[in-house]
């Protein structure tokens, strides 16, 4: 059971109030098979009545040894495997991996490929946030948003399907650029989607933003301060909702994000409601980015000159991107052969999930569901 260990003492953490004299502490188990844990996550809760005193996460149920597999596949062969980590944002995983290997090979994808990459990755951010919104709202008891978001997410998946034949685990990018040229009518369809989707965000917000039940269930729930976020290494919308204006697309631009205008939405209170607002604003910003990218799609090759058999020179590189969930990093060690000597994935969900304990302390059991939802974890990525 999680004791209040000394390592947490330097955080801005309110210590749980003393239990009543007659209160019995209760330990209950949630998961691993539970509809609101978004996969197979087991949480052991220590309760005082309805109040959470602390919790411990038990993870690893989906561990497939992705990093080990990486050492036994060539650089090209490993590419589709990374899609299976965060399977709702497969395109982002692929982008991070391809860019890291490109760094090792010292090649850069041509401008047209970069543009298409940005378009697909930002569409994926929207799709990931839509899935998050639908399931998160469903967890809290609002059923309608799920139908709305899945209906609209379908349009993005259709674009993927037309582009590369796959809807979820797309394997859309190749090391050095793209395998496929865009299909005819790609630009028009993306533009149509943007025109279709923009009013939909207002529709989602109409359902929830001022909905009294939603507000009561999310405001002041699962608060985490900026200082705690940084101490825990929490990144992504969770960090930004606590008021830290930090986004890798701006802080250390990769792909060609520096060519596009967009803002980084931030919150103030670091509660579940603010994280909801930040993600809604991020969808709007993604629409902005895609609009600019698709409007100025350059002509040219889609693949850089890369050898058929890739043998990056011996060396090691850490490269990270802003995935929908936070900082997704790859640390690859090459020994000069066709296979990576070591592939390490730094998954955002894994690190963010660590903060669940401090975010839930002092909350009610029902709020644990809300906080797991608001962290937006994908267990495929936590366990790898």
């Amino acid at each position: 059971m999680t004791e209040q260990n000394s390592s947490l003492s330097h955080l801005d953490l309110e210590t749980p109030e003393k239990p009543f004299l007659d209160a019995n502490e209760l330990v209950i188990n949630m998961g691993p098979q539970h509809p609101a844990t978004h996969g197979v996550l087991r949480v052991i809760l220590r309760l005082d009545g309805e109040k959470v005193l602390g919790l411990e996460c038990v993870i690893g149920y989906l561990h497939r040894g992705v990093e080990k597999i990486g050492e036994h596949r060539t650089y090209t062969m490993f590419n589709p495997y990374v899609d299976r980590m965060d399977y709702v944002a497969a395109v982002s995983n692929g982008l991070g991996y391809c860019e890291t290997v490109e760094k090792l090979l010292n090649v850069e994808a041509p401008p047209r490929a970069q543009h298409v990459r940005v378009i697909l990755t930002e569409l994926n951010r929207i799709a990931s946030h839509q899935l998050w919104l639908g399931t998160h709202a469903l967890d809290i008891g609002a059923i309608t948003p799920l139908f709305y978001t899945f209906r609209d997410r379908e349009e993005i998946l259709k674009i993927y399907e037309k582009y590369c034949g796959a809807r979820l685990t797309t394997h859309a990018f190749r090391i050095g650029g793209l395998q496929y040229e865009t299909y005819s009518g790609f630009e028009k369809e993306v533009k149509n989607f943007l025109a279709f989707f923009r009013p939909k965000i207002d529709e989602y917000e109409e359902l929830l933003t001022t909905n009294r039940i939603w507000v009561e269930r999310t405001k002041n729930v699962g608060i985490i301060s900026a200082k705690d976020c940084i101490a825990f290494g929490v990144t992504g919308p969770v960090l930004r909702a606590s008021g830290v204006k930090w986004d890798l697309r701006k802080a250390q631009p990769y792909a060609n994000y520096k060519n596009f205008d967009f803002d980084i939405p931030i919150g103030e209170n670091g509660d579940t409601y603010d994280r909801y607002l930040v993600r809604m604003a991020e969808m709007r910003q993604s629409v902005r980015i895609v609009e600019q990218a698709v409007g100025a799609l350059p002509e040219g090759p889609i693949m850089a000159k890369v050898p058929k058999v890739m043998k990056p020179p011996a060396g090691e590189v850490y490269h990270s991107i802003e995935a929908p969930k936070g900082e997704l990093g790859y640390f690859i060690v090459s020994d000069g052969s066709t296979q990576p000597y070591r592939v390490r994935v730094r998954p955002p969900s894994f690190v963010n999930l660590q903060a669940l304990d401090v975010m839930c302390r002092g909350q009610l059991v029902a709020d644990v569901i809300a906080v797991i939802g608001t962290l937006d974890i994908v267990l495929g990525e936590v366990d790898r």
Partner: protein
């Protein structure tokens, strides 16, 4: 910054750059101090990742790597050290709270222990599992057959 550290600690630190990324190879004995200095004096307040690499042919078999980021400087640095099989490292949980799970994963996958860690146990694999899968001598098809037989009731263990 690296020049200053180099001046203070001399030959224990070797600053290097590869593909435009800075990292430093630090002697094992200097690790606790260097990490503390990086956190407190150089403002590397965000511990991005902790991981290890196994080189079975070497005398000191493991590279342990800390990836650090500073919000104030918008800068990354990697700290790397070599340790022998069976040797342990000081835990950096008192420096960065988020190091907790990352160190547990290094222990789980490589069997490197971190002294002073509040909860040094496996994280992804089951507690009773034998072996550390990311070591190079652990085969890709290998698993703890005994554990599988006992806990999952699969007789072949596969």
């Amino acid at each position: 910054m690296v020049a200053k550290l180099k001046g203070n600690y001399g030959s224990g630190i070797e600053p290097l750059t590869y593909a435009g990324q800075n990292y430093m190879v630090v002697d094992r004995s200097l690790i606790p101090e260097i990490l503390q200095v990086l956190r407190n004096e150089e403002e590397f307040d965000y511990c991005v990742d902790i991981t290890a690499v196994h080189y079975p042919a070497r005398e000191k078999q493991f590279d342990v790597v800390w990836v650090l980021y500073s919000h104030a400087r918008n800068e990354r640095i990697r700290v790397k050290t070599q340790i022998a099989d069976g040797a342990s490292l000081p835990s950096s949980v008192p420096i960065w709270t988020g190091a907790n799970w990352l160190e547990r994963e290094v222990f789980d996958m490589f069997g490197i222990k971190f002294d002073g860690h509040p909860d040094m146990k496996r994280i992804l694999l089951p507690d009773g599992w034998k072996g550390h899968p990311l070591r190079k001598d652990y085969g890709i098809l290998q698993q703890d057959n005994e554990w599988v037989q006992i806990n999952l009731g699969i007789e072949s263990g596969q």
